[in-house]
Structures are given as structure tokens and as C-alpha cells.
């Protein structure tokens, strides 16, 4: 009885502070929903970054993922990358460069009706793989392509 009472009091206090924070505009519900995944983008290791972003680093290689990127990138600051995923139910496409200081580069959430296609230009610190991670029907699939970089693009 006593313990239950304590729990209820604790619970209500916690809810109270949250309410105050929301009221003061500190916690905007819309922002909380589409928050930028700071932790995932800060991770230095590929597996940890994927777990932080997608909840798992358990991926399966798939031949249905095609990455278009140059074999040799003269300028590592601008490497064009196009990912095409020929599978049904693509939910997101994530592009990573495991050799960069922070491997995770960009992640595209695709709504229903959007195609498994994303294209952008990324920076690469040094030669290495460009990895695409595609989430489809709740599972993670990967594809990769090696790019040789002649001039690094991540400063230094």
C-alpha cells in the first residue's frame, strides 16, 4: 500500500515536470517526432551508427541494391552517389562511408509511393567503400561500392 502510494506520487511528479517543460515550449511534440538523430551521426563506428539510427546492425547483402558512384573520385569533397533499390516496401535508404571520421552521411526516409531511389553528393576523407543500407519490410539490406579518392574531402 505504502509502496504503491509512493509510486503514484513519483509518477505524478515526473508527469508534472514534463507538462511544465512542454508548456514552456522546451519540448515541442512535433520536434520530438522528427528529431535529428544526433547520436547516430556522431558515432565513429559503422555498426554502432547503424544500431543508433536503425535499431540494428544486422544486415544482409542484396544484389537488388545498386550504387552508382565513380571508381576514382578526383575530388573527395564531391562524390556523386546514387542508390537504387529494386525491391518492394523500401522504407529508408541510408548512405555511409565507413572510412570517414563519422561514417553515417545521409539517411532518406521514404513515404509510401516514393521509389527506392536516392541521389546526392557526399564527402569522402579517403578511399574506401560507399555503403548503402536499405530498410525494406522491416529488414536491413546492404550494397557497397569501392571508390578511390585522390584528394581527401574531409579537411585536415
Amino acid at each position: 500500500m505504502n509502496e504503491l502510494r509512493r509510486l503514484i506520487i513519483k509518477g505524478s511528479v515526473a508527469a508534472g515536470t514534463l507538462g511544465v517543460a512542454m508548456g514552456a515550449g522546451l519540448l515541442m511534440p512535433t520536434q520530438a517526432l522528427a528529431a535529428w538523430p544526433k547520436q547516430a551521426f556522431g558515432e565513429k563506428k559503422m555498426d554502432q551508427a547503424l544500431t543508433a539510427l536503425l535499431g540494428s546492425s544486422d544486415t544482409t547483402e542484396s544484389a537488388d541494391i545498386k550504387i552508382k558512384a565513380p571508381e576514382i573520385a578526383e575530388n573527395g569533397a564531391v562524390v556523386p552517389v546514387t542508390v537504387t533499390a529494386d525491391m518492394a516496401g523500401v522504407e529508408s535508404i541510408t548512405i555511409a562511408a565507413p572510412n570517414n571520421p563519422s561514417p553515417l552521411v545521409a539517411s532518406f526516409d521514404l513515404a509510401d509511393g516514393a521509389h527506392g531511389y536516392a541521389s546526392t553528393r557526399i564527402k569522402m576523407g579517403k578511399s574506401g567503400d560507399v555503403v548503402a543500407i536499405v530498410k525494406a519490410n522491416g529488414k536491413l539490406y546492404t550494397g557497397k561500392k569501392n571508390v578511390k579518392v585522390t584528394i581527401g574531402g574531409c579537411g585536415g
Binding site: 563519422s102 526516409d109 509511393g113 536516392a118 553528393r121 579537411g155
Partner: protein
């Protein structure tokens, strides 16, 4: 000042969007001539809506190139209006609209 250029074309029931944004995309890792770190300044989020409905929502790091390019495809869209919005890590944002032709 518009920082976004959008081209959206419908063909065979599929709309292809290509957009260019003007942004320095500083990763926070680069140093200036005096060896001081240049503060990070990059677009964190790009949202695309068609008639108020979200089609694509991208999260970026400073690893995306300067003056970013983005392209994606979705079903339908002919004659509709597309809205693209970006927000950077300093809280700045911009948006632009384009008719899908």
C-alpha cells in the same frame, strides 16, 4: 533569398525531383589558416511535401557535400505542388515550392 532550386518532372506516372541547395555544409572538422576549427554548419533535415503530404524526409550529417544536391522519385504528382524545406544545425531554414510539370 532563395537558396533552393527545384526541378520536378512527371513522366509515365513517376515524378523525378532534382534539387540544389546553397549551403556551406561545414562538417566542423576543417581548420582555417590559423589552425582554428571552423564551426560545424550543415543542413540536418530536408523535407519534401506534395500537397501537404510528406513524401521524403532526409537526415544529413556534415558529410554531405557543399551546396547539396538531392534527387528522388515518387508515384504520381502531375500538376501538383511540391514543397521542399531544409533546416540546418544553427536553426536556420528555407523552403521553396515548385509545380510538377
Amino acid at each position: 533569398m532563395a537558396t533552393i532550386k527545384i526541378r520536378a518532372k512527371e513522366k509515365g506516372g513517376v515524378t523525378t525531383v532534382k534539387a540544389l541547395m546553397t549551403h556551406s555544409m561545414e562538417s566542423g572538422l576543417r581548420k582555417d589558416k590559423n589552425g582554428e576549427k571552423i564551426p560545424a554548419h550543415f543542413i540536418q533535415e530536408v523535407v519534401c511535401e506534395v500537397n501537404g503530404k510528406m513524401v521524403m524526409n532526409a537526415h544529413w550529417s556534415g558529410g554531405v557535400s557543399k551546396n547539396p544536391y538531392i534527387s528522388f522519385k515518387f508515384d504520381g504528382g502531375k500538376g501538383e505542388t511540391l514543397k521542399l524545406t531544409w533546416t540546418d544545425n544553427q536553426g536556420k531554414s528555407d523552403s521553396a515550392e515548385a509545380a510538377i510539370s
